[in-house]
């Protein structure tokens, strides 16, 4: 599809790349700068359904100092920069809307310091979470945020990533203790630290986590680790109705049962997963649960309690497994749900969306959404980390039928507005990118002004990932 | 600084009687570390949310004056006199600040509370009526006449609103002034102790029957009770209202009136007990009386403490009723006596339904409810709601001021509850 990639963007305000800049960068990085079409295409969209916007060049720094030099150079030449981790983002975060330089951090993949006693690590931004957990094997510790895709820690910090374990271990917001950031003019700052509690000055870590590359380039992160649980158990329970499943989740959390993962898959999704991963579960709204505990007995206690709650909510099938292989099979099936859904309609592309509502309104929101979707001919699957009221829809659309695309967007917009009206947010974890900017505006009102001003203060020339998150 | 605000003359000027006065730099002031943990235990802070109406704020004002940084004005006096002297802050303070002593020292400097007319009336009452039992009898008789003749009802219709409230608050003067049958009343049955009894001014004027009940209970439990004729008011009201010198005179007189050779001086009024336990401090600068004052103070016990320590002799008839208990401030905070009254209630078999905030002031606070009716009313309303919520038919409050206030509150806020003294209840149970 290379010939379909425009070499000059079609968005307004796209600047003209300065050859002098390319020369400077090449002098700095040698062959770690690429202008080949294939490499640029790879850095043009991430995993979104939104159209691709390739950068003019891609650079591959290997140290924070190199990042500083790159940023300084781009800043001098007033060239936009787009930080790039693993490119697994879903809302067009890495699309170079105005062209410019894509800063690919994947080569900054060193694990700089592991402190098992203090349960924290400092890593370069390009380390992926799977790489980190592999490195931690044998320490009894793990990094808990698991967004499904093998994203980089830097990217996860930039998007405030969440994942299946958020209900118990939190999201990147809880996990990031400190960052090293290169600002738009090349200044290097450090935020936070290793102390578990700090009231020193402003908590700028909170500002950069979730800033989606619009305020600076994260080059290093210090993150918190957790102890691996002594005992783990997984369960699936299928329900007659989505409401039954959601009520089970609500009661479980209210009783303080420290469940580690709770995922909801609707009947469409279960069908896909059954076929793709050979699960043989009933085709009905199903909860996938994982329990962590200090002993087999405590895990068994948790399972019993949830079984009882589920029984009161119309549960059909209830299966549980302690065997690691069996558990791994269950969770792989869950994590492969995206591909499973795609497999339902070969040739289709998947549009993934993501909202979050207060858990008390979750069943209602899902019910109304499903009713809205029922009229459509599109195949739509639902999956979510319902422990925090977050769920995703996957719309399967034919890329060659614009009407289908429009319909999916229309249905999605209604769902987001529905979620906002219920006191929710337009994105549970995928972030804003540029796909959700208009919803951000609807959601935030006056605070958006403040965000704009912060963006303008830290990046007065709007060079850091321009056109994302906040309109300036 | 870029402020463009010019200072203006203060609206409320200094009070003439406070000119040239300053608070003393007493050592108790040092203990306050300004942590603020007392704030939410203070009833007046909870109502006003103002720092100057909190224990910490009041200590700060006293300290600022003592250090020469603040002139004493009517406003300062108002802040210090809005304090109930309930000493809940002392219970809460992790540093052990003796707030009561600081406040008393401050009030000694300020003199009696209120605008000039009030000050004069209070001073008159405290100096020229309280110390003299026979004058109290006269006042009691006048009150009885005023209340029973219908004059009070007439006054209530004719007087302006704010005075009307104060008339309504006036307790019903008892049918008689307490007069013991003899100065020494023997124990009933085997004698286990010899105690002296403070008959008290408020108890004598308004609750003679409770005094009699108290003496009965003491005698039934083997006490020989000495009720010295020469005794008089303990002076608590005087100390709390800026009349420290007359309070000292009253303390001396009581120290002289009570025999040195009784082991215990029993009182059934929490306010009196707290005041008398501090006689050592009150007379600390008096070389002639200091030691005797300490000896006196060390022997003072509230009737509930004493009886619990002695142990009830008879097994009382269990009373199958539900009561709730109001911790009088000067018993719970002033003397740290909370468990003993409850133990005695348990011994007579009543079911105790604890009210929320049982140790929060009801707003009586001596003559506070007359001087600060709005604050007293606000606190009383909360207190009556707390009592209502327990569902109990009886509230036990072992202090005359609290009893008067709660009786008024039951009527004012429509809470059908009987107000009793602990000794009253014990007497009824035959303890």
């Amino acid at each position: 599809m290379a010939d379909q990639i425009p070499t000059t963007g079609t968005s307004p305000g796209r600047f003209r790349l300065d050859d002098l800049l390319i020369a400077e960068l090449r002098a700095l990085l040698g062959d770690r700068l690429s202008t080949s079409a294939a490499v640029r295409e790879h850095h043009s969209r991430g995993e979104t359904y939104l159209p691709p916007y390739p950068p003019d060049a891609v650079v591959f720094p290997e140290s924070t100092d190199e990042v500083r030099e790159i940023v300084r150079a781009c800043s001098r030449h007033r060239t936009p920069m787009v930080p790039f981790g693993a490119g697994t983002s879903l809302e067009g975060h890495v699309a170079a809307l105005q062209g410019g330089i894509s800063i690919d951090l994947s080569r900054m993949s060193r694990i700089l310091r592991v402190s098992p006693e203090d349960m924290d690590v400092t890593v370069e931004a390009g380390v992926t979470h799977r790489q980190l957990n592999k490195h931690l094997r044998g320490t009894g510790l793990f990094f808990s945020v698991d967004p499904g895709a093998d994203a980089t820690i830097g990217g996860m910090a930039a998007t405030r990533a969440s994942g299946t374990t958020a209900v118990r271990y939190g999201t990147m917001r809880e996990s990031v203790l400190g960052l090293t950031v290169v600002l738009a003019d090349g200044r290097l700052i450090r935020t936070g630290g290793r102390a578990r509690k700090s009231a020193s000055g402003y908590d700028l870590t909170r500002l950069f986590v979730g800033s989606e590359g619009t305020l600076g380039v994260i080059t290093e992160a210090t993150v918190r680790l957790h102890g691996l649980p002594e005992a783990v158990s997984a369960a699936t329970c299928s329900f007659a109705t989505v409401e039954g499943a959601v009520n089970t989740v609500i009661t479980t959390i209210q009783l303080g049962i420290p469940v580690a993962r709770i995922e909801l898959l609707d009947d469409v999704q279960m069908d896909a997963v059954n076929r793709y991963s050979n699960l043989g579960c009933p085709v009905a709204p199903t909860l996938f649960l994982e329990f962590h505990g200090a002993s087999e007995r405590s895990v068994a206690e948790q399972v019993e309690m949830v079984k009882e709650i589920a029984a009161g909510n119309g549960v059909g099938d209830f299966r549980w497994a302690t065997d690691p292989e069996e558990r791994a099979r269950l969770w792989k099936a869950r994590h492969d749900s995206y591909f499973a859904t795609l497999a339902l309609r070969p040739g289709a592309v998947a549009i993934t969306t993501d909202v979050c509502v207060p858990i008390a309104r979750l069943a209602e929101c899902i019910a109304e959404t499903k009713k809205d979707n029922a009229a459509s001919s599109l195949t739509i699957a639902l999956i979510g980390h319902v422990g925090d009221g977050n769920f995703h829809l996957i719309y399967l659309v034919d890329p060659n039928t614009p009407a289908e695309m429009e319909e999916a967007e229309r249905l999605n917009e209604r769902m987001v507005m529905r979620a906002l009206a219920m006191g929710g947010t337009c994105t549970g974890e995928h972030g804003v990118g540029y796909g959700k900017m208009k919803f951000l505006e609807a959601e935030h009102g006056e605070a958006l002004n403040v965000m704009r001003q912060i963006k303008q203060a830290l990046d007065p020339h709007n060079l850091m990932n321009p056109g994302k998150m906040v309109r300036v | 600084m870029t402020g463009a605000v010019a200072p203006a003359a203060h609206a409320a000027g200094p009070a003439a009687h406070l000119a040239g006065r300053a608070m003393p730099a007493i050592p108790e002031l040092e203990a306050c570390i300004h942590c603020g943990l007392c704030l939410n235990h203070c009833p007046t802070y909870r109502v006003t949310h103002l720092e100057a109406e909190s224990p910490r704020g009041r200590i700060y004002l006293v300290n600022a004056s003592a250090q020469g940084r603040l002139d004493l004005t009517a406003s300062v006096a108002d802040h210090l006199y809005l304090c109930l002297m309930c000493r809940a802050c002392e219970t809460a303070c992790p540093s052990g600040v003796q707030y009561g002593r600081i406040a008393e020292a401050a009030r000694e400097v300020l003199g009696p509370p209120g605008p000039p007319v009030t000050r004069t009336l209070v001073r008159l009452a405290l100096r020229h009526v309280m110390p003299y039992p026979w004058r109290l009898r006269v006042v009691a008789r006048l009150m009885r006449v005023f209340q029973r003749s219908g004059l009070a009802a007439l006054a209530a219709r004719v007087l302006p609103e704010r005075l009307r409230a104060r008339i309504a608050l006036m307790p019903q003067a008892g049918a008689r002034f307490y007069t013991p049958e003899a100065e020494v009343l023997p124990a009933i049955g085997e004698r286990r102790a010899r105690v002296a009894f403070l008959s008290g001014c408020a108890m004598s004027m308004f609750f003679a029957d409770i005094n009699e009940a108290t003496v009965r209970v003491l005698r039934r439990n083997g006490c020989e009770v000495v009720i010295p004729r020469g005794q008089a008011c303990c002076g608590a009201l005087n100390v709390h209202n800026g009349e420290a010198e007359s309070a000292r005179a009253m303390a001396r007189r009581d120290i002289d009136a009570f025999p040195d050779d009784v082991d215990t001086i029993v009182t059934n009024a929490a306010g009196c007990g707290a005041a008398m336990k501090e006689y050592g401090h009150l007379l600390k600068d008096d070389p002639a009386y200091r030691q005797r004052a300490e000896h006196f103070a060390a022997r003072v016990r509230d009737a509930s403490e004493f009886l619990k320590g002695l142990g009830l002799r008879t097994r009382p008839q269990p009373m199958s009723q539900t009561v709730t208990y109001q911790d009088p401030c000067h018993l719970a905070h002033g003397q740290r006596v909370r468990a003993e009254p409850r133990a005695l209630l348990g011994a007579v078999g009543v079911r105790l339904a604890e009210m929320a905030g049982s140790d929060r002031c009801c707003g009586s606070a001596g003559i506070y409810n007359v001087l600060q009716p709005e604050m007293a009313e606000t606190l009383l309303r909360e207190k009556m709601e707390a009592i209502r919520a327990t569902g109990a038919a009886t509230v036990v409050a072992p202090n005359p001021g609290c009893m008067i206030q709660l009786k008024y509150g039951a009527q004012r806020f429509g809470v059908p509850v009987r107000v009793m003294h602990l000794m009253d209840l014990l007497d009824e149970a035959g303890a």
């Binding site: 700090s198 405590s298 006056e446 | 203006a8 570390i33 940084r69 004005t73 992790p94």
Partner: protein, 478 residues
């Protein structure tokens, strides 16, 4: 605008009784719990609604006066002390619980709500608000937000920043805006996150959306007595190293225990050097198992005696000693000055050694009690002179040595009390010029005129320590 006109305008907004202007009324607001500095405000205003706050802010700005928000004034870093005068905005009247959403487990409260009273209100629903600073019976939620307050139970549940979901804020120009909302993880920049801990310098918080947690079924508390402090610290690491994260993990040293015994008759041994207080919550099956494991670990580390509390009363008794520790220390000397520093937990034994060493070097007694699980220490020097004495320099020397040691060990100069006035000159020990410049840029966005709680957090070149009292008060009041 002259003072009289401003007073009239403010009275029109909040009502006459709530604009304080007499000398005595202003004097009581010149300090919070930091006793080494005091400055009188020009006026004190007590608003009752968000609209009033907005109008007062506008009026103050028009008069060119700075604005210092204040909760209960229990802050230990001087964050509520109006160093430049101006208007103190006391939020203590705004105490309402506005909304309680049990299903979503959030509550919306006004900033003057007292921390402990919030949790008391939630008890009937089996819920609680987790950050429990030592001041909780007095401190307000708004104040907790300003300082990112912690407390013993933050080990498991996080600090204020982890428990606040949204804020309604009045900005420096009087604009009212919501940051965040009712759901965790609102998209966009985490303005709620940076507002928490901004010490009143970004805006005035007028509503707080807090996250509520469910009370667990079972709770067990354990007290382990040790003969040596370093051994006790190692026991802490052993417990956490075993993968156990208790709800609370506190240590008191021998000096503290003896002081607490005096005030509270708490029953601590008179000759032990350290006591570990550990609390575990969870399901009724897992908790006894966990406590047993902790007991084994503590004994293996050489605990002299272990006491477990099972009933609520026993548990409260064990905690009373810890919670009252600061006040009890008041008995040790005429003055105390509680420090607040934090190190990575693994460096606890080392920092304790250096604290004791510093105490010996400067010849000042130091009591210690702390949130061992988080590595957050409160070394508390006690002494008999006051801060105007030349001896006071020893206390400052001690303080600086301890802070320096913490930074060297990878920690921070304030774990939970905030920078305020007290530590602003030391911000540069934690962050370099570039870091501080970035912080200032953010401050500039919120408050370009530097009107909100000026001269806090950032260095000014004027220390509250060491400078004779006279100098601090001589700040020109134009």
């Amino acid at each position: 605008m002259d003072r009289a006109a401003l007073i009239r305008r403010l009275q029109a907004i909040v009502g006459e009784p709530y604009v304080l202007h007499r000398p005595d009324d202003l004097t009581v607001y010149e300090q919070d719990a930091l006793m080494v500095a005091r400055h009188k405000p020009d006026l004190v205003v007590l608003p009752d609604t968000t609209q009033q706050v907005s109008d007062v802010v506008k009026a103050a700005r028009e008069a060119g006066l700075p604005i210092v928000a204040r909760g209960a004034g229990t802050g230990l870093a001087g964050g509520a002390i109006p160093e430049r005068g101006g208007v103190v905005l006391a939020m203590t009247r705004m105490t309402r619980l506005l909304d309680l959403d049990l299903a979503s487990r959030i509550a919306v409260v006004e900033p003057g709500m007292v921390n402990a009273e919030l949790t008391a209100m939630l008890a009937a629903h089996g819920l609680f608000y987790a950050p429990d600073p030592g001041s909780q019976v007095a401190s307000t939620i708004g104040g907790n937000v300003a300082n990112n307050s912690g407390g013993p139970h933050c080990l498991a549940y996080g600090v204020t920043g982890n428990n606040v979901v949204g804020l309604e804020v009045v900005l420096a120009d009087g604009t009212v805006t919501w940051l965040g909302g009712r759901a965790m993880d609102a998209p966009g920049y985490d303005l709620t996150g940076i507002m928490v801990g901004s010490e009143g310098t970004f805006g005035i918080v007028t509503k707080v959306v807090v996250r509520l947690l469910a009370r667990r079924e079972a709770v067990r508390t354990l007290l382990a007595i040790y003969d040596r402090m370093d051994v006790a610290c190692e026991a802490v690491s052993a417990v956490i190293g075993a993968g156990i994260v208790p709800e609370a993990l506190e240590i008191l040293d021998g000096i503290t225990m003896r002081a607490v015994n005096q005030t509270l008759h708490a029953g601590f041994p008179e000759d032990a050097e350290a006591a570990l207080l550990i609390e575990v919550e969870g399901l009724s099956e897992s908790v006894p198992v966990l406590i047993e494991r902790i007991e084994v670990i503590c004994r293996a580390q050489g605990a002299r005696r272990i006491q477990t509390a099972a009933t609520a009363e026993e548990r409260l008794n064990l905690w009373k000693g810890r919670k009252q520790a600061y006040g009890a220390l008041g008995k040790l000397g005429r003055r105390t000055m509680m420090l607040d520093v934090c190190v990575p937990r693994s460096r606890l034994p080392e920092i304790m050694r250096r604290v004791l060493e510093a105490g010996r070097r400067w010849n000042v007694g130091v009591a210690n009690f702390f949130h061992a699980g988080d590595g957050n220490l409160h070394p508390t020097p006690f002494f008999d002179f006051d801060d105007t004495s030349p001896e006071y320099a020893r206390v400052i020397g001690l303080t600086e040595d301890i802070m320096r040691a913490c930074v060297e060990l990878g920690g921070t100069i304030t774990g939970e009390h905030g920078i305020g006035l007290e530590k602003r000159e030391y911000l540069g020990w934690m962050f370099n010029d570039a870091d501080i410049a970035a912080m200032k840029q953010v401050k500039q966005v919120f408050d370009p005129a530097d009107a909100l709680n000026p001269d806090k957090v950032f260095p000014t070149g004027r220390s509250v320590h060491g400078a004779p009292r006279g100098k601090a008060l001589a700040v020109p009041r134009a």
